[in-house]
């Protein structure tokens, strides 16, 4: 292109660098410039001048690239991994925290629950124990009340039985309900019978001295009231208690006489 100078003088290269030519012309000029070193040199000069002029028109130095840097490097990653990546740690944290709290809560409730269950079982046991105790007490009370009622009867004959040589500390009482022919023997004051032996209660008539067995106290219970109810239809004048082999004897073993008392004439 021999007329490069004319080309340059036309002023089209300035407009080419401004980028204000129609697109078709832009392509044409770009082509011409690429093929002519003179034109290219001119373009470079124009470009440098404009860079300087525009720079001079800047009100100040712009912010550094650092403001964009975050965007630059982020954009590469965000294309592959979207925003959620940034949020993940928080969500994960909340998730784990929630899971932990839930787990801790479940654990706490489980412990609390089993503790409560244990307490219920214990309470139930205590209650059962208490109930049976109450039953025992009630039974005892009823028994005692019954006995008290018997003793309160007007026509009851009370016979204190005194200690004999074999056991100086022993004593007993007989409450004799003559109307019903029942005798209540209180043996609280008697020592516990040895193994294989039982107390036997005798009704006695004095003239002549005749012992009649009215019963064997084979249901001896240390913890109980020690009051036995026996049938006594006899015209008793005295009562005695002897220690006999198990099952009792036909006649009293006098060597083993523990207590003896005479029915006082009323």
């Amino acid at each position: 292109m021999k007329n490069s100078q004319t080309y340059i003088e036309s002023g089209v290269l300035e407009l080419f660098v401004y980028g204000t030519l129609p697109e078709k012309e832009m392509v044409e000029v770009a082509q011409d410039v690429s093929q002519d070193h003179e034109l290219l040199q001119e373009v470079v000069e124009i470009e440098n001048k404009l860079l300087h002029l525009a720079k001079a028109a800047a009100p100040s130095e712009p912010k550094g690239v650092s403001a964009l840097r975050e965007y630059l490097y982020n954009i590469k990653e965000t294309k592959v991994i979207p925003l959620s990546r940034k949020r993940t740690p928080i969500i994960t944290f909340i998730g784990w925290a929630a899971a932990f709290i839930l787990l801790a809560g479940v654990g706490y409730l489980y412990t609390e629950n089993s503790q409560l269950e244990n307490r219920i079982v214990e309470t139930e046991r205590t209650l059962l124990l208490q109930e049976s105790k109450t039953q025992i007490v009630e039974t005892d009370l009823n028994k005692t009340k019954g006995l008290l009622n018997i003793i309160r009867k007007q026509d009851l004959i009370t016979v204190p039985l005194g200690a004999q040589a074999i056991a100086p500390e022993a004593y007993a009482s007989v409450y004799w309900d003559t109307q019903n022919g029942k005798a209540y023997i209180d043996v609280q004051g008697l020592p516990e019978p040895p193994e294989g032996k039982v107390y036997q209660v005798w009704s006695l008539t004095l003239e002549p001295l005749t012992p009649t067995s009215i019963g064997v106290l084979d249901q001896y219970d240390v913890a109980g009231n020690q009051i036995f109810e026996l049938n006594n239809p006899n015209e008793s004048e005295a009562f005695g208690i002897t220690l006999e082999p198990e099952g009792g004897s036909a006649s009293p073993t006098l060597e083993q006489l523990y207590t003896l008392g005479v029915v006082s004439a009323s």
């Binding site: 003088e9 036309s10 002023g11 089209v12 300035e14 407009l15 080419f16 660098v17 401004y18 980028g19 204000t20 129609p22 697109e23 832009m26 392509v27 770009a30 082509q31 410039v33 690429s34 093929q35 070193h37 290219l40 040199q41 373009v43 470079v44 000069e45 124009i46 470009e47 440098n48 001048k49 404009l50 860079l51 300087h52 002029l53 525009a54 720079k55 001079a56 028109a57 800047a58 009100p59 100040s60 130095e61 712009p62 912010k63 690239v65 403001a67 964009l68 840097r69 965007y71 630059l72 490097y73 954009i75 590469k76």
Partner: protein, 191 residues
């Protein structure tokens, strides 16, 4: 990647930071940073001369470089210079901004009207060597030159639009502009 015409490549190699541009076109952030360093202040000047507001201009400059980064694959050297491509993005973004509603509402804040006002303002507040050079820009430019360069380069008007705006014959716009730019040539050598 753009399919370069081999001849074009040879020429651009000599005159543009072409290795840099090639790397940038491959989305290399470090190259982008270099390009920002080289061109940001000039583009800032162009944008500011359109919007006349420093804050807005700063924002637009950031937008411009984000667009440059995101659209790097659209640059075609067969249609013009790399600088021209960036210049168009900057200028168009700034012009779009001036047409937006929120921008029109805050028009009071606008500072200088022409790029030369900035040149003058800068020159009077600064006594550095740089400022002296800037003052020379202003001194050598006739009023008509300032206007022509303002419309053609900073505002991106076509020849026809510029002719109408300045009420001069269409045929003289191109040549008159050339004369004005020629005057700048001497100063650039000094600066």
């Amino acid at each position: 990647m753009v399919n370069h015409n081999p001849k074009l490549v040879v020429y651009f190699m000599m005159t543009q930071p072409d290795a840099l541009i090639d790397k940038f076109l491959l989305k290399d952030p470090a190259s982008f940073e270099k390009i920002y360093e080289l061109y940001s202040e000039s583009l800032f000047g162009v944008i500011h001369s359109v919007v006349h507001n420093q804050e807005v201009a700063e924002e637009l400059l950031q937008d411009t470089f984000i667009k440059i980064w995101n659209n790097s694959d659209k640059y075609n050297p067969e249609k013009g210079r790399f600088f021209t491509w960036m210049l168009n993005i900057a200028r168009n973004g700034a012009i779009d901004k001036t047409r937006s509603k929120d921008f029109k509402n805050q028009k009071k804040n606008h500072t200088a009207e022409y790029f030369v006002d900035i040149l003058e303002a800068k020159g009077s507040f600064n006594t550095s060597v740089d400022a002296i050079g800037i003052r020379k820009y202003v001194e050598v430019l006739e009023p008509l030159c300032k206007k022509i360069i303002h419309f053609l380069f900073f505002q991106g008007y076509t020849q026809k639009e510029t002719a109408e705006k300045l009420d001069i014959p269409l045929g003289t716009v191109k040549t008159r502009n050339r004369i004005c730019i020629k005057k700048l040539r001497d100063i650039v050598g000094v600066v």
